[in-house]
C-alpha cells in the first residue's frame, strides 16, 4: 500500500547566496540578537562596556567578510585577494582600532551597537554586490525567479540598511531616556528591515506580500512599544487595524491579478501581458485598483493617509523616523516594481489613477501641514506631501521617473531621519514637548540643533544646495518629460505652500522668545544621536551641493525582471 504513494519530484530552487547576503545579514542579525539576549538578559555594566567596545572591530571584520564574500572592489578589500599582504593586515588593525575608539566615544548600548554593526555589514554587502556583481554581470535572481537582485533593489536595500544604522543610534539614547531598554525594539527593526529588503527585490506577488507583512507586523509592534504612553498604544493599534485592512486589499488585488494573468510571478505576468491582448481586462483593472490601494496605504498616499498623523504623533519618535524612511522606501520600491515595471505595458490604464492620487496627496499633505500645531503631526503631513512628490515620479512611468523615485527615496530617508532625530532630542522625556511652540527660541537654547533642523527643513522645502531641491527637481523634470504638465505645476505650487510652513518654523526657532522648555533640560546631546543627525546633515548638504554620485546611482538603479535561467 505504501508503495502506491507516488513520490512526486519536488523542485528545490537555485539559490545564489551572495545575492541574498544583505537580507541574510539583517535576518540573522535579528535572530542572533534575540538569542543572545534570551540567554544573557543583562550584562554587568563594566563587562557591557568592554563588549560594546568589541562590537566596533567585529563590525569592521563583518563588513570586510560580507563585502569580500559578495564582491571584490570594496573598501576594506576582499577576503579572497588581500589575505597574506602585511599592509592589509596593518590597515585592518588600524581601522579596527579606530572603530573601537569610535564606539567607545559614542557611549552606545550593546543592542544598538550590534544593530548598527549588522546594518553596516548589510550596507557593505550591498556595496559589494553593486560594485562587483551588478556592474559587471547585471541583474540576477537570488532564489529561483522569486527574488531578484538588480540596481533598484540594491539601492533600496542600502537605503533601508542605512536607516537601520541611523535609527539604531537615535534609539539608543531614546530608549534609555524613556526607560524602555531592551533588545526588542532593535530586533523588530532588523526584522522589519529584512521584510523591506524582501519587498524591494520581490519578483513574485506572494513574496511581495510576505515581505510586506514581515515589515508591517514588526512596525505595528514598534509603534506601540512605548508602554507607558497611551498615545503610543493608540498609534500601534490604529496602525495595526488599518494596516491589516490594507493588507487585505493588497491580497485581494493579488488574487485578481492572478485570476487575470494566471500567475503571481511578476516575470510571468509581464511576459503574459506583453504577448496576450486581453479582450476583457476588467479583472486586471480591479486588480490594479486594489493593489494601488494596498500599496498606497503603506506609502501614506491620500486618500489612504488618514492613519499617518495619528501614528506619527503617537509612536516613539525614532520609530517614526524609521517608518518615514525605510517603510516608505520599501513601499515605493514595491509600487515601482509592480506598476512601472510589471504593468508598464498597461501604463495608460493606471497612470490616470496614480495621477489623481499624486495630486490629491500633494494638496492634502501640504495644505493640512500648514494648520498643524504639533511638530510630529506637521512632519507627518509633510511626509504625506513628500509621498505625493514621489508618486509624481512613479506616475511618469519612465526610466527617468524611476530614477527620480530612487533619488527622492535616498534623499528623503536621510532628511527625515535627521528631522525626527532633532525632534527626538528636543521633545524630552515621554515625548512631551512636540508642539511647535516648544520649538520657539530653540536657537538660543541649542544653536547647533536649531541649525541642523533649519537645514533639514529647508531641504524638505526644496531650497537649492540641499538634496531636497535636487530630488524635487528630478521628480518634476520626470513629470514634464512624461507631459504631465499640470501635475508638475501642482507639485511646484504645493512645494511653495509647504515652504511657507517650514520657513515659519525656522523663523520661530530664531526669532521666537526663548521660552523655557520644561521637557528639554538642555543637557548634552548623546554622542550617538549627534552622530546620526550629523551623518544625515552631511549627506543632505553634501549631495545637495554635489548631487552627481547619487544621481548616477539612481540612473543605474532601474529595476529589471530577470527570468530564471
Amino acid at each position: 500500500m505504501l508503495a502506491q504513494i507516488e513520490t512526486l519530484p519536488v523542485n528545490t530552487p537555485d539559490v545564489d547566496w551572495a545575492g541574498l547576503l544583505p537580507l541574510a545579514i539583517l535576518g540573522v542579525g535579528a535572530v542572533v540578537l534575540v538569542m543572545f539576549r534570551s540567554v544573557v538578559k543583562r550584562l554587568p555594566a563594566d563587562i557591557e562596556t568592554q563588549v560594546v567596545t568589541l562590537v566596533g572591530p567585529i563590525t569592521v571584520l563583518g563588513m570586510w567578510v560580507a563585502g569580500g564574500y559578495a564582491g571584490e572592489n570594496v573598501p576594506l578589500a576582499s577576503v579572497r585577494d588581500d589575505v597574506g599582504e602585511p599592509a592589509f593586515y596593518i590597515g585592518l588593525l588600524v581601522v579596527m582600532g579606530v572603530a573601537a575608539l569610535l564606539v567607545r566615544t559614542m557611549q552606545i548600548g550593546l543592542d544598538a551597537a550590534v544593530t548598527a554593526g549588522v546594518g553596516l555589514s548589510a550596507i557593505s554587502a550591498v556595496w559589494a554586490l553593486w560594485d562587483d556583481r551588478f556592474t559587471s554581470t547585471g541583474p540576477f535572481n537570488a532564489i529561483g525567479d522569486q527574488f531578484g537582485v538588480d540596481g533598484f533593489s540594491l539601492v533600496i536595500t542600502g537605503v533601508i540598511a542605512s536607516a537601520v544604522v541611523l535609527v539604531a543610534f537615535l534609539l539608543d539614547d531614546y530608549l534609555r531616556r524613556e526607560e524602555l531598554d531592551g533588545p526588542e525594539m532593535y530586533v523588530l527593526m532588523l526584522l522589519s528591515a529584512a521584510g523591506g529588503v524582501v519587498m524591494a527585490g520581490a519578483n513574485d506577488l506572494i513574496v511581495l506580500f510576505l515581505g510586506l507583512e514581515t515589515l508591517s507586523i514588526a512596525v505595528y509592534v514598534m509603534a506601540a512599544m512605548h508602554v507607558r504612553r497611551s498615545e503610543s498604544q493608540e498609534a500601534g493599534l490604529k496602525y495595526f487595524v488599518l494596516g491589516a485592512f490594507s493588507s487585505a486589499f493588497l491580497l485581494y488585488g493579488i488574487a485578481m491579478v492572478y485570476g487575470a494573468t494566471g500567475s503571481t510571478n511578476l516575470i510571468d505576468i509581464r511576459i503574459f501581458l506583453d504577448s496576450v491582448v486581453l479582450v476583457d481586462d476588467g479583472l486586471l483593472m480591479a486588480g490594479f485598483a486594489l493593489l494601488l490601494v494596498g500599496l498606497g496605504f503603506k506609502v501614506a498616499a491620500a486618500p489612504f493617509h488618514s492613519w499617518t498623523p495619528d501614528v506619527y504623533q503617537g509612536a516613539p519618535t525614532p520609530v517614526v523616523a524609521f517608518m518615514a524612511s525605510a517603510v516608505k522606501a520599501a513601499g515605493f520600491a514595491a509600487l515601482v516594481r509592480v506598476f512601472v515595471v510589471t504593468f508598464g505595458g498597461y501604463s495608460s490604464d493606471w497612470q490616470p489613477a496614480v495621477y489623481a492620487l499624486a495630486l490629491l496627496t500633494l494638496v492634502v499633505g501640504s495644505v493640512l501641514a500648514v494648520v498643524q500645531r504639533d511638530a510630529k503631526r506637521m512632519l507627518a503631513y509633510s511626509s504625506i506631501s513628500h509621498a505625493g512628490f514621489i508618486l509624481v515620479g512613479v506616475q511618469a512611468s519612465s526610466p527617468e521617473g524611476t530614477a527620480s523615485v530612487v533619488f527622492y527615496a535616498v534623499a528623503y530617508t536621510f532628511l527625515v531621519i535627521g528631522s525626527f532625530g532633532v525632534l527626538t532630542v528636543v521633545s524630552g522625556r515621554g515625548d512631551r514637548a512636540t508642539s511647535l511652540d516648544d520649538l520657539d527660541g530653540l536657537a538660543a537654547r541649542r544653536p547647533a540643533l536649531a541649525l541642523a533642523f533649519t537645514i533639514f527643513l529647508l531641504a524638505q522645502a526644496g531650497v537649492p544646495l540641499t538634496t531636497g531641491f535636487v530630488a524635487k527637481f528630478e521628480v518634476i523634470g520626470a513629470a514634464v518629460e512624461a507631459r504631465s504638465y499640470w501635475l508638475a505645476i501642482a507639485a511646484m505650487v504645493t512645494a511653495v505652500v509647504s515652504a511657507f510652513l517650514y520657513l515659519r518654523i525656522v523663523l520661530s526657532m530664531y526669532m521666537g522668545t526663548a521660552a523655557e522648555n520644561p521637557a528639554d533640560d538642555g543637557s548634552r546631546i548623546h554622542p550617538a544621536a549627534a552622530l546620526a543627525i550629523g551623518v544625515a546633515l552631511v549627506i543632505t548638504l553634501g549631495f545637495g551641493i554635489v548631487p552627481g554620485p547619487i544621481d548616477e546611482l539612481a540612473r543605474d538603479a532601474v529595476p529589471h525582471l530577470v527570468a530564471a535561467g
Partner: protein
C-alpha cells in the same frame, strides 16, 4: 497521491451503505458498553488498590453499577442556572461528546495484518471486502488532532455558558492545559508520520505490521521512533484527557467539579460519558500510533480475522489499566508544574527528537554509510548538548538574577 483506499468503496452502493452503517453501529455499541465497563473497571480496580471492595451490589461483582448510575441520572431534575447563556449551556454537551465519538471512526479495530503473506488488513463481511474501521480518511490522524481541539470548545463553552465562577475557572484552566499539551501531542504524532510517510491510520498499522528487527521485536513505532515520542504522547495524552495526575480541571478541593459544576441530570452524564469515552479513544489512538494497532506479534498464534481484534483489545486494556493505576498512585500536579512540564520539557524534547528522527530517516533513504549516520548523530548530540547547555545557562542566570533582585529588595 494514491492512497490505499478502503476496498469497500467502488462496489454496489446499497451494500456499502449497509456495511458502513453496520460498522458504525458496532462502533457505537462498543463504545457505550466499553465506557460502562471502564467505569466499573476503574472503580473496582481502585478499590482493590485501596483495600476496599468497591461496587458489589448491582449485578455480579457490581458490574451493573454504572448502568444503575446512568439510569438514575435520567430521572434527575435538569437545572439550567439563571445566569447561564442558555443556548451555549445546552450546546456544550454535544460539543464535548460528539468529537469523542468521532475520533473512534478512524481507529482500526481489527483485521488481518499477518505479515507472512503480506495481507493488508482487509476482511470480508457478507462478501464485501473492507477495513475493520469505520472510515479511513487520507488525513486520518489529523482528524484526531482536529477533534481533540473541538473537544476543548465543549469544555470552554460549558464553563463560560454556566454563568458561574467555578465552572469558568475550571474551563479556563482546562483549555489552557489542553492547548499546552496539544502542541507536544502534535509533535509526537509528527514523529510517527515521519516514519509512516502517510497520515492514514490504516497505512500506519500496515507500516507497523511489516517485519521488525530479527523478526522477533515487532516493527512498532514505539521501538522505531525510539520511545521518546511515545512517552511524550502518553504524558501529553493523559494531560489532554484531564485524568490524574493532570486533573486540575476538576480539582474537587478547589473547584468543586470544574467546568461541569452547574450541570445536572443527563447533561452531566454526557460530560461524564465524554470523559471516559475520551480515555478509551486516546488509548486506542496510542495503540494505533505506537503499538501497532491490531497488528500483533502473530508469529506464534493461529491466524484468522479475529486475531487483530484480539491484539487490539489486549493492548487497549493495558493502557486503560495504566490510566487507572495512575489515578490510584500519583498525586495531582500543581498548576505551574503542569505548565512547566508541557512547555519547558515536552515541547523542546519532542521538537529536538523530531529533527533527529527526520535526519536519520532521510539518511536511511539516501543510503548513508554507517560512518555518515554516526557523524550525523554525533553532530545532533553536540548541537543538542550545546542548546541544552545554553538553556541551563539561561536558567541559572535567571535564578541568579532573581536572587539578586530579591536581595536588592531587602
Amino acid at each position: 497521491m494514491i492512497l490505499a483506499a478502503d476496498p469497500l468503496y467502488g462496489g454496489d452502493l446499497l451494500g456499502d451503505i449497509l456495511i458502513t452503517l453496520l460498522k458504525a453501529g458496532v462502533a457505537f455499541t462498543f463504545l457505550l458498553v466499553a465506557v460502562m465497563l471502564m467505569i466499573w473497571f476503574e472503580r473496582k480496580l481502585i478499590s482493590d488498590m485501596q483495600n476496599r471492595i468497591g461496587p458489589n451490589i448491582a449485578g455480579p461483582w457490581g458490574i451493573f453499577q454504572t448502568l444503575a448510575d446512568g439510569i438514575k441520572l435520567f430521572f434527575k431534575e435538569d437545572l439550567v442556572p439563571e445566569n447561564a447563556d442558555r443556548f451555549v449551556f445546552k450546546l456544550a454537551p454535544y460539543l464535548a461528546l460528539v468529537p469523542a465519538f468521532l475520533v473512534f471512526a478512524i481507529v482500526p479495530l481489527g483485521g488481518d495484518f499477518n505479515r507472512k503473506d503480506g495481507s493488508d488488513g482487509v476482511v470480508s463481511i457478507f462478501g464485501h471486502d473492507t477495513f475493520l474501521q469505520v472510515a479511513d480518511p487520507p488525513m486520518g490522524i489529523l482528524f484526531f488532532l482536529a477533534m481533540s481541539s473541538i473537544a476543548i470548545y465543549g469544555i470552554m463553552l460549558a464553563g463560560w455558558g454556566s454563568g458561574s465562577k467555578y465552572p469558568l475557572l475550571g474551563a479556563v484552566r482546562a483549555s489552557a492545559q489542553m492547548i499546552s499539551y496539544e502542541a507536544a501531542l502534535g509533535l509526537a504524532i509528527a514523529a510517527v508520520v515521519l516514519q509512516t510517510g502517510s497520515l492514514s491510520t490504516h497505512d500506519m498499522v500496515i507500516d507497523q505490521a511489516a517485519g521488525g528487527y530479527g523478526g522477533i521485536i515487532p516493527n512498532w513505532n514505539i521501538v522505531v521512533t525510539g520511545f521518546v515520542p511515545f512517552f511524550v504522547f502518553f504524558i501529553a495524552g493523559t494531560a489532554e484527557l484531564n485524568r490524574p495526575p493532570f486533573d486540575l480541571v476538576e480539582a474537587e478541593q478547589e473547584l468543586v467539579g470544574g467546568f461541569h459544576t452547574e450541570y445536572s441530570s443527563i447533561r452531566f452524564a454526557l460530560f461524564f460519558l465524554a470523559e471516559f469515552m475520551n480515555t478509551i479513544t486516546m488509548s486506542a489512538i496510542m495503540v494505533l500510533l505506537f503499538l501497532g494497532g491490531p497488528a500483533g506479534p502473530a508469529l506464534f498464534f493461529p491466524e484468522g480475522w479475529w486475531i487483530g481484534t484480539f491484539w487490539f483489545f489486549l493492548k487497549l486494556m493495558a493502557f486503560l489499566f495504566t490510566f487507572v493505576w495512575f489515578r490510584a498512585t500519583l498525586p495531582r500536579f500543581r498548576y505551574d508544574q503542569l505548565m512547566d512540564l508541557g512547555w519547558k520539557v515536552l515541547i523542546p524534547i519532542s521538537l529536538a527528537w523530531f529533527l533527529l528522527l527526520a535526519g536519520l530517516r532521510l539518511g536511511d533513504d539516501r543510503d548513508w554509510t554507517y560512518n555518515e549516520t554516526l557523524a550525523f548523530m554525533v553532530g545532533c548530540i553536540i548541537t543538542f548538548a550545546l542548546l541544552g547547555g545554553l538553556l541551563i545557562g539561561a536558567i541559572n542566570t535567571a535564578r541568579a538574577e532573581r536572587v539578586r533582585e530579591e536581595a536588592d529588595r531587602g
